[in-house]
């Protein structure tokens, strides 16, 4: 991993009220190490009114399950930054996390289920 993270907040149209590095409290890598770009998250039913707008915007996309990569794409935010924002939301109890990715998929039945679905594509 690169030792520096660029937060991508300069030059963005509309501008941000709070620099992203402040939003994530200077965090440069996720504390939840099982967070991958395909990890699924979903909003928990908690009051979000005290949250910064950037966080509320993310939660508004998490009514169902969604991946970190999709959040980054829809909200036009760099992947690394989205991961950090999601990490903070997980830690603060606003999001629930799906199954962590295994290093390799070694579940025969899971592959069978996927194969069956692909054959119907």
């Amino acid at each position: 991993m690169p030792d520096e993270t660029w937060y991508g907040d300069d030059g963005e149209p509309g501008g941000r009220l709070v620099p992203l590095y402040m939003l994530v409290n200077g965090r440069t890598s996720p504390r939840n190490t099982s967070l991958n770009l395909a990890t699924q998250v979903t909003a928990l039913p908690v009051d979000t009114s005290a949250l910064e707008p950037e966080y509320r915007e993310i939660l508004s996309c998490c009514g169902g399950w969604i991946s970190v990569a999709e959040l980054a794409a829809y909200l036009n935010t760099q992947l690394t930054v989205m991961k950090l924002l999601v990490d903070v939301l997980l830690e603060r109890g606003f999001l629930a996390l799906g199954d962590p990715a295994e290093r390799t998929v070694a579940d025969y039945r899971l592959l069978e289920t996927i194969l069956d679905r692909l054959q119907r594509l």
Binding site: N36, A38, T42, E70, A72, T104, R109, L111, I114
Partner: protein
């Protein structure tokens, strides 16, 4: 929580049809997300002796196939630049394996991808993208040129065609299954 995502990595050199394949099988229009990296640029500045750091934007395209209420399959195209291996490492976590697209006019463009998955023991299939409907080489010739391990499946595809791309995906999943003892559940 039981919501699970699995991935298929779509790799191959620049212009081999990765984005096209992702788009032809995805249930959503392919999405793009960017990663901005600070990486030392080539060499060291001669005058100052200070390593020059440059920001590089790397784009990742991906698509999605919902398998059932608990499982989503993501298809991730690898970034055009081969040197950002840590992005490949992140893509490979939780992946069934990879489809390595091959353009027979530029076989060498797919060498780094083949080498990457080979070394890590990640299941992959080589998919020859038939840009002009026909391929002038035999399977044996392509296998030799790519130095493909005989156990690696080689398929022909037209990345623009959904059924054809789907067959490449199916061959990958079958190949991954063939490497596991039947009936195992993690």
């Amino acid at each position: 929580m039981n919501r699970k995502s699995v991935k298929v990595v779509v790799a191959g050199g620049f212009g081999t049809g990765k984005t096209t394949l992702v788009g032809s099988v995805s249930e959503i229009a392919p999405l793009t997300t960017e990663e901005v990296l600070t990486a030392p640029s080539e060499g060291i500045d001669d005058l100052t002796g200070i390593e020059d750091k440059t920001k590089t934007t790397v784009a990742l395209d991906f698509g999605r196939i919902t398998v059932n209420a608990d499982i989503v399959l993501y298809l991730f195209g690898t970034p055009g630049q081969d040197r950002f291996w840590f992005i490949w490492d992140e893509l490979a976590v939780g992946a069934i394996g990879a489809i390595v697209l091959v353009d027979t006019r530029r076989l060498d463009a797919s060498f780094p991808a083949i080498d990457y998955f080979e070394r890590r023991g990640i299941p992959f299939v080589a998919a020859v993208n038939m840009f002009f409907g026909e391929c002038p080489y035999t399977e044996g010739e392509i296998r030799d040129a790519l130095k493909l391990n005989p156990t690696v499946p080689l398929v022909w595809c037209d990345a623009r065609d959904r059924q054809s791309s789907k067959q490449a995906l199916i061959s990958l999943v079958k190949h991954a299954m063939s490497r596991l003892p039947a009936g195992t559940s993690a």
